[in-house]
């Protein structure tokens, strides 16, 4: 059975945090400079032993945020301001101060990253077991090739995947199996944080369920943290313990899963949830009107104000700060700050 936890964020229990993080893409298009504000003030406190979901539409910056969290910031993406901290064995490490060698040590052992599309991780011309062996040999000292193969086989078997997967080439496996193999690989060295970017997108519904099942199994077994990004709220409802709703480079609402679905306060969250058809319910549903803003051309004030049905004057001018509604529920919205309840939940 899959299980879900009730998480309250505390400082001691934090495993990865960010403070005022800004990361922009600096591009040059036809001789003019274009700045894409993909991560525009993000403050996170990701806890140990939780599944944290980041939800948002395409173009909201969630993939960039994941790259920043995994410390994979490469040009044209630049770290503009703010910090990312890894809490490793009681020490708080500022990621931007690490050099390449230290970072390499942390990768796959403290934090591992599963990018969108499994084929980019699996080498198409070698068997799965070779990819596993290479990872083990390059990150764990003192393992011979035979030992590495054994370790890989055991790991796969423990996660309930068929052992003959090891002797196959990536193209011989189904899309769902490839994805699961990639995720199992990310968990191989027992990392404290696994970051997964859209692991279920483009997968069939039964396969998707199998992948989420695997992610939950891994998290339960390793007792670590999984940060999961997807635009599918249904997947979040089944996978995440806490959810952060992302819009135009900012987290606009963050709360435990039950709360997000039960009492969504931010108008965008409300729309996101109400636009999805509930099975067995034929009442008419509407998509969120308008389209998400270009991250290179954000509107002033609250980035959601052009599409917000409850927009007020202050929304057009000033960016709202976080209001802590409860100990573990925060929203960035003038409606809440001004004391008016978010209507229509």
């Amino acid at each position: 059975m899959l299980s879900w936890k009730h998480i309250e964020a505390t400082v001691d229990n934090t495993v990865l945090s960010t403070e005022g993080l800004h990361a922009y893409y600096m591009l040059e298009v036809h001789g003019t400079q274009k700045v894409v504000k993909a991560v525009n003030q993000v403050d996170l406190d990701i806890q140990k032993n939780e599944v944290y979901g980041i939800a948002g539409e395409s173009g909201c910056g969630k993939s960039t945020l994941l790259k920043a969290l995994a410390a994979v910031i490469e040009p044209p993406l630049r770290h503009i301001e703010g910090s990312i901290y890894y809490h490793v064995n009681g020490d708080i490490i500022d990621v931007s101060k690490l050099d390449a060698e230290e970072m390499r040590r942390l990768r796959w052992r403290f934090v591992s990253y599963v990018p969108q599309g499994s084929m980019s991780v699996l080498n198409p011309v070698v068997k799965i077991k070779s990819t596993y062996r290479d990872f083990i040999v390059s990150h764990v000292d003192g393992k011979s090739q035979i030992e590495a193969f054994e370790m890989a086989k055991e790991h796969i078997a423990e996660l309930g995947l068929p052992p003959d997967v090891m002797d196959a080439y990536p193209h011989q496996l189904s899309g769902g199996m490839r994805q699961r193999v990639t995720i199992a690989l990310a968990a191989l060295l027992n990392p404290r944080v696994i970051i997964a970017d859209e692991p279920t997108t483009a997968l069939d519904v039964v396969v998707q369920r199998g992948v989420v099942q695997l992610i939950k199994d891994i998290q339960a077994k390793l007792q670590n943290t999984v940060i999961l990004v997807t635009h599918d709220m249904g997947v979040h409802a089944n996978a995440a313990d806490r959810i952060g709703i992302m819009y135009a480079g900012k987290i606009v609402e963050e709360a435990p899963t039950d709360t997000i679905f039960g009492e969504p306060l931010h108008p965008y969250t409300q729309y996101l949830i109400n636009s999805l058809p509930k099975f067995g319910d034929k009442t008419r549903r509407e998509s969120v009107p308008g389209s998400p803003p270009e991250l290179s051309d954000l509107p002033g004030g609250c980035a959601f104000h052009p599409r917000c049905p409850f927009v007020m004057d202050i929304c057009r001018e000033q960016v709202p700060d976080y209001t802590a509604v409860k100990a573990n529920h925060k929203v960035a919205c003038w409606l809440i700050e001004k004391g008016q309840d978010g209507k229509g939940s």
Partner: protein
């Protein structure tokens, strides 16, 4: 009620592999269904079930190995292979990838002008403009937003709607929509799906909706056929098939839908297939390897088609309480 499409015993076999090992995959295996005028019919299933191949066969983009397709009084059997595409005026289609649907180096409006010219839908500029404007309005877009623009200047959702508008130009009686919303953000899917409802209501158009998303299928269609590895395993009204599924695969499919509601999370665990190709080549029921209610006979014999309460079902579980054998 006139039927807008009838498919009888359609079969398509592909031969894969190298010189040393050839596998014959029956992508579409004895598929029969019909669509009434003004009806939205869903062909549902996961990837590899044969629903897209069926669409290609109906459109004439592929040749069936055997079987019959009837549309608008015309019968097409695999033997008359001369014409590559059988009918495109009464049947139009939209596809999964909105950005792939249009040539990135040409403006989108060119396809409209070409459709109008090739099917002789308007005789002068005035009429052309009016026709295009009318269809764009039907999908919720304006002429100014659309004219002279390249595909890269639109969003995925907008391009899908433009795709539908182009398909509407010939006033087709049947629109085939192959996974039209799977590449569109979850929160924007409803706008496309609501469009199908509106088209059915305002123009009496039928839609063959091909998808793996049962939630939108339930929301928009009248009847549904669930496919698995080339066979139709359950077919009936959407209420019966999706609210009270009889076939174990349909049940699995329905249970696996991720609902945006923590009160209705997945229960139990799921088992995935190890190799898709192996499942195709199974002797008996193709789902026998994963079926929670599998019996011995399932592994040996292909299940018959049985009708129970107006629902067609292909499963050995129901042979005992047979009402009528199809």
């Amino acid at each position: 009620m006139e039927k807008v499409l009838e498919v009888e015993h359609l079969k398509k076999v592909y031969s894969l592999g190298s010189i040393t090992s050839r596998a014959r995959i029956t992508a579409v295996d004895d598929v029969s269904f019909f669509i009434d005028s003004g009806e939205i019919f869903t062909l549902a299933g996961e990837s590899g079930c044969g629903k897209t191949t069926t669409a290609k066969l109906v459109l004439g983009f592929e040749e069936p190995t055997s079987g019959l397709i009837i549309h608008g009084g015309k019968r097409h059997e695999s033997s008359d292979s001369k014409k590559k595409v059988w009918f495109t005026e009464g049947v139009q289609a939209i596809f999964q990838d909105p950005f792939g649907t249009f040539n990135p180096l040409r403006t989108v409006d060119r396809y409209f002008f070409e459709t109008i010219k090739n099917y002789k839908l308007a005789s002068n500029e005035q009429e052309t403009f009016h026709l295009i404007d009318e269809k764009l309005k039907a999908v919720g877009l304006s002429y100014d937003q659309f004219f002279g623009k390249y595909p890269s200047e639109f969003s995925g959702g907008q391009l899908q709607r433009i795709s539908v508008a182009r398909a509407l130009l010939t006033d087709p009686s049947l629109l085939i929509a192959d996974e039209p919303v799977s590449m569109v953000d979850a929160s924007l899917r409803m706008s496309i799906v609501n469009l199908f409802n509106r088209l059915r209501r305002d123009f009496g158009m039928s839609v063959l909706y091909i998808t793996h998303d049962l939630a939108t299928a339930y929301y928009v269609s009248d009847r549904i056929a669930v496919m698995f590895r080339g066979n139709i395993v359950e077919m009936g009204t959407v209420e019966q098939v999706l609210m009270a599924p009889k076939h174990p695969y349909t049940q699995l499919l329905k249970d696996s839908i991720p609902e945006a509601d923590p009160e209705h999370r997945w229960e139990g665990r799921v088992q995935l297939s190890d190799s898709d190709q192996d499942e195709y080549l199974k002797k008996g029921c193709k789902f026998a390897g994963r079926c929670p209610q599998v019996m011995d006979i399932c592994r040996r014999e292909v299940p018959p088609d049985i009708t129970v309460d107006d629902v067609l079902i292909k499963c050995h579980l129901y042979t005992e309480d047979v009402v009528t054998l199809v």
